[in-house]
Amino acid sequence: MYNQVWMVHFWLLLAVASTIAALWLLTGKRSLKYWFLSDIVALASLTLFYNDPENRSIIHLIAFPLFSWLMIYLRLVAVAQQEFVQSIQRYAFGCAAGLIAIRLAIYPNVDSPSLLAANSFLFSILAIMMLVAILRNKEWGVTFGSILVMLSTFIYVLVSLFRGVSMIYGPTGIFMNTQTIYLSGSTGIIVTAVAAHLGFIIMVFEKMHRSQMLSVAQIAREAAGREQAEKRELEIQRVSEEQKALIEVLTHEVRQPLNNASAALQSITHELAVDKAPRHLEAVLRAQSVIENVSTALSNALIAATILERQQKFYPARCEPVAIAEIVALDFNSPDRKRIRIVAANAPLFITVDPILMRIALRNLFDNALRYGLADSEVLVEIYEDEARMGVVFNISNEETDPTWSDGVDIFARRVRGASPKISGSGMGLYIAAEIAKLHKGSLTTHVAGGHRVFCLFLGD
């Protein structure tokens, strides 16, 4: 009888194990691998289970529950998420230890019913853990396959418990004899094992189908995202083209006439100076100053708009910083120009910069120092080589009523303006100067020294 049941069980298990192995090789799924390993262990366990009870050694007694435990544990690993396995590992290993302890305790009296019942209870606990694992596994979800696995596991739990109870009352008790227990246990195990395998295979296919659907949806989403990104890029390109066109207009249609107006005013200034007409001269100088302020604001806006483009195309050249500073000082009208004093060593000094940007940076720094400095106070521009840092330093200092106003303020940020509301400006000048310094791998900092505000522009060579 034992042999017949054993044969049925063995061949059935071998068949499903082969199916699982084939599926594992085809799909490479981790869960199939563990389930297959569990089947291999089950086959080994089966051999021990149907062993003649009269000839069981202590190794057999320990190996059988251990194999059975390993079989359930591997199935649990197959259907559970990794985090869940980690969280119940302690209890699962506790069960294994309990199983060995029970076996050692009953040896050599292998038929102690109470201890064998406890043995079955421990297996039930493991099976319940597997049930919980399936329920908690978000990747599987509740599907036909998972319900089948859970149901078969539940039946296994019932069978285990039944066996436990019947072992207490079985051979000598009110229920059944040993053979009935074996037969009922084996049948229960075979039925639940077949159902569990079937359910598991369905689960795997359902999961694969879901993954496929998800990947189709993912591809569709990505395609939609790409299309959207392309549209956005086209839109950005269009805005950028419009911006470029606007810059072109500003450069040629606005700056050019402003340049001509300024040139005309310069001619008038020159003639008025020759004719000694101070009243008219003052008015013309004021008009010229207005034009130049507009022009500077325009240049700053253009630089701010093209600063990213400039980062991509940056062609610095070896220039004389003192010559650039001298030209920048001439950007201002006579009264302001006279306030600027440039101090530099006589030795020739060169630096690698973009002179157009450098002129704009220095113009903004000079303009800032002139505007915020006390009336008629000097703006000192010191240009020197910093050998330690390997570069050139421009120190621009002025005398302010309260140079501490900027404490805690990032005055190099966009649209940050000085404390005095009387002084006009867009708050872009220092930001532009700092950005230009960064473009040159340099820095722009400020500090207060002896009541003077000092801007320190460092440009590495």
Partner: protein, 229 residues
Amino acid sequence: MAADTQRLCIIDDDKDYGEFLADFLRSQGFDVDLFTSGADFIRDGTADRYDFFLIDLGLPGIDGVDLIILLRAKSRAGIIIISGRMGPDAFNSGLSAGADMFLNKPVRFDQVLQAIKTVSRRITTGDGGQTSWTLSVRASELKCSNGLAAQLTALELRMLQLLAEAGEGGIDRMSLSANVSIQETGSSRNLDAAVFRLRKKIEQATQRPAPIRTLHAIGYSITGQVSID
């Protein structure tokens, strides 16, 4: 004021601006002619009579950059670009063509005058037009076309020789430092410091920008004409 014998040529398609500037420069003692296109100037055929050219880049017909290339081929006169173009390309192409200075419009007349003075100072200290260099290995010196020369140490000579042999493509930092036995470890800037000192030495001795260009995060290269003797 500036040498009153200086003959100056303005080539700018903006006639109003050109005339205002010409009037101002005449008042400063210059002899000034104005052309509103490159074609008119070439047709006139008087390029060699000028000491100085003030050229706009955006000219109709022959572009300002092409005109500078033509002029530089046969003239060592000072060339200043006065242009409203702000892009980095404008400056780079103008200077590569052989201009001495780039002034971005709007520009005051005083600034033009100041630029003329600066460029004149360079011209009077030796070479007009583009600077050329000769690296004399035997004399261990770098000679500038303005007649001035910088004496070099063995390391500096080797460095310049390597750069000159590599040409405009340059040489990467690792190869350069290995070839001149400068240790470059981690964040050390030994090579940068050596190049910084070399540039300074050349510039102080010759009054000209050193012909060494930094290729950021790559290495260094020679810029301009450097021949090895």
